[in-house]
Symmetry: C2
Subunit: 448 residues, 2 copies
């Protein structure tokens, strides 16, 4: 199946009608998140890079046309107007790694209506998923308060592609490594991982297992100590490491039980065994909440491995995202259905050095000293400049986090940052709402 057919059928039914009606004027769609999940003080923008790759390569082939026809129970000739369609439009996007808030466009697509509509499903899918996971992952980094965090999520993400993106998002937000080999190789990340309980069980006893592992891995090793009894496991690990003269760079991993209490006992055992350089790693069902509790308790844990709950963004596995038409043929448009009102027109988000962000119409000058977040990243269907890199995205995130109020950074009960509408955008929204609510009035004229 091609990426192009992995789309909602209605993109095709609409496109066919647009082509029939000759509605090929430029349209602008705005992609934004209506509301933040309850326990998020901010979002981390992500997904723009895969979206640009997709749009650069977008082309409907005759094989795709046959699939569309088959899905619609129509003949291929009824759908052939779509054959060869590519994406020739413009994209303005908030670069990956920027901190964003509810209502702020993350991406605006301006292209002939059919093209801008056809790409909706993929764009929503990528930005929603990756922004959700990045916004979850960063919280583990914050909770760990300087201690390294690694990604162990691959085994329970929603498929392996989701696992690749989870590793990418982990790196973007400052994780020290990932268990995912393919992701480590692809993005130049540190691969992290040691042994499973099955490894220990496959040997006659724990000590034999630890010695065999050290034999196979002459560099620093991490020994998993909770297969049978964590306290005994730490003691055995300490004995093996001391006997073999290993220490610096090595670690023991606790994966179950009272991680804080066991970490204290492990620390004492290791220190009293002359192994002060052997670190204690904790894993097992952790996300930012568990890490926060352990860090606040002063547990002597040197590194946290988080997995399932972060890779699936378990407490907020989706975002309330939308891809809304805001302008067609230079005419601002909007939707009025209850509780889902959108605001019309192409937009810009201005970040003020102090105070709330301002969402404005795209051609407004913006408040003095404010930074525009949306950048033009694609024109005529071609990327402007080279693809963004993870280190660049990470650097942007770091700068934005430093500038955030502390109460937005809180792990529990954060106070979300927010954006307000500019005066002009408020006026245009109110004006168009009035016109649309009165069915007899003429619709806003082009350019209004």
């Amino acid at each position: 199946m091609s990426d192009v057919t992995t789309t909602d059928l209605y993109e095709i039914t609409m496109a066919l009608s647009y082509l029939l009606e000759d509605m090929s004027r430029p349209a602008t769609f705005s992609l934004f998140v209506r509301n933040l999940p309850p326990e998020r003080g901010f979002l981390v923008s992500a997904g723009a890079e895969p979206v640009l790759d997709y749009l650069s390569a977008f082309r409907i082939t005759s094989a795709d046309v046959e699939d569309f026809a088959s899905a619609l129970h129509r003949s291929p000739s009824d759908v052939s107007a779509l054959d060869g369609v590519t994406f020739t439009g413009e994209v303005r996007a908030v670069p990956e790694g920027r901190v964003v808030f509810a209502g702020e466009p993350l991406l605006e697509v301006t292209a002939p209506l059919t093209q801008a509509q056809l790409v909706e499903t993929f764009l929503l899918n990528q930005v929603s998923h990756q922004t959700a996971v990045a916004s979850k992952a960063v919280r583990s980094v914050l909770a760990a308060d300087g201690r390294p965090v690694v990604d162990f999520s691959l085994r329970r993400t929603h498929g392996t592609s989701a696992g690749m993106q989870a590793a990418r998002m982990a790196a973007l937000t400052g994780f020290a490594g990932t268990s995912n080999v393919a992701a480590a190789v692809r993005w130049g990340l540190t691969a992290s991982g040691t042994m499973a309980h099955s490894y220990v069980e496959a040997f006659p006893d724990e000590e034999t297992a630890f010695r065999a592992f050290a034999r196979a891995h002459p560099g620093p090793v991490t020994l998993l100590v909770d297969t049978y009894d964590s306290v005994r496991g730490v003691r055995t690990a300490a004995r093996v490491l001391r006997d073999l003269g290993r220490g610096p760079g090595c670690a023991v991993r606790l994966d179950s039980g009272d991680l804080g209490g066991l970490a204290r006992r492990a620390r004492v055992e290791l220190d009293c065994s002359g192994l002060p350089d052997v670190r204690v790693i904790a894993s097992g069902g952790l996300d930012e909440y568990g890490v926060d509790t352990l860090v606040r308790s002063g547990a002597p844990i040197d590194m946290y491995a988080v997995g399932t709950r972060v890779g699936t963004s378990a407490d907020a596995p989706y975002l309330d995202s939308a891809y809304k038409l805001v302008e067609y043929d230079a005419r601002p448009v909007m939707k009025l259905s209850s509780a889902k009102v959108t605001s019309p027109g192409r937009k810009q988000v201005f970040r003020r050095p102090d105070g709330d962000d301002v969402i404005a119409l795209w051609d407004e000058p913006g408040p003095p000293g404010a930074e525009p977040l949306l950048r033009t990243v694609m024109r005529d269907g071609r990327r402007i400049g080279p693809p963004d890199t993870l280190p660049e995205a990470h650097a942007r995130l770091t700068a934005d986090l430093v500038a955030l109020p502390a109460d937005a950074l809180r792990i529990r009960d954060p106070r979300p940052g927010r954006a307000v509408y500019s005066e002009r955008l408020s006026d245009v929204t109110a004006d168009l709402t009035r016109r649309l609510r009165s069915p007899r009035s003429p619709r806003a004229a082009p350019g209004a």
Copy 2:
């Protein structure tokens, strides 16, 4: 990146040690879900088919070896023992679509230790995700109480591959269609979808939009009526459909607001317009809980579209799954860490016509009249028989649902079905626990 490198690094570190120690005897790993999520009375087994495809094709290439070496900061020659490894083992699996409960093995892999270990990450990933989504999706079908349900999840699943699996799981559990074109084509499903709010907004007014849509689509059409005002939208849709002599097969779709109340008003409008055959479809943030509430209220809704919350299994986005070594070289093994005790040995699950399932050792005869759920589906690395089909899986699910107690089928506060250990499995577990807890005793001998 190959599927083979999309794995946890520790599978490689362990495999290298096993090869060095010449530990190539047969191992059995058991894949099961420790506990059901709170609002699940049962799980729907899924993922076995993609797993068998993966195992059939599994082969470590020299490119993979280079990636492993790079991730481990070792030279390729240190890892070259893995070059050319394929999967030559046996798989016993619960076929897709069977109802299963906590603790029951969904899959048992018996293969040379290295092979059985190397495939862990992929197997856990696929079975956990697909079983979670299937177990969520079936609940919408049950809640709809005979009304058709369609899958609109693609835009917010965790990537498009997850969207493909969500559509497959929807079909497996009895959905009437999916919005996902590629999934519809690949699995022969009904593709479903109509228009977005953007479509209506792109036209000067709603009526012009509806007429244009009907022009492009001579067959039955569904008109989205809530872009501006749902009640007015239904009236406009009724006028257009009546004017054009369309009716049977057509529908209006409500996507926001008080869906039950609006459906009643839509039904009255359509009936009084002489359009009793025009159906009412509801969508917008629905999953089984919303559908259940609407169905119980008697809302005149003929079809439900569910999306995001089902495709991400939002209230239980992951399962507490495990892939545990239960036997190595004919020696039963187990893990003792607190709260995560496993039971040793290869197993079989017996379904009794009445009463709880029984988890037994694989060579026990099982209770009289009980059906064994685990079937041998791969031997010597090759599938036994042709791939399973979705209609077969769906038929299995239907039969199992019919046989389930009503309180396990409940949408809210279900009473989970359960499995008990056979006497022999209980004895073996207790015996091995005793031996492992006493560090001085010899370990269970091979064959014990």
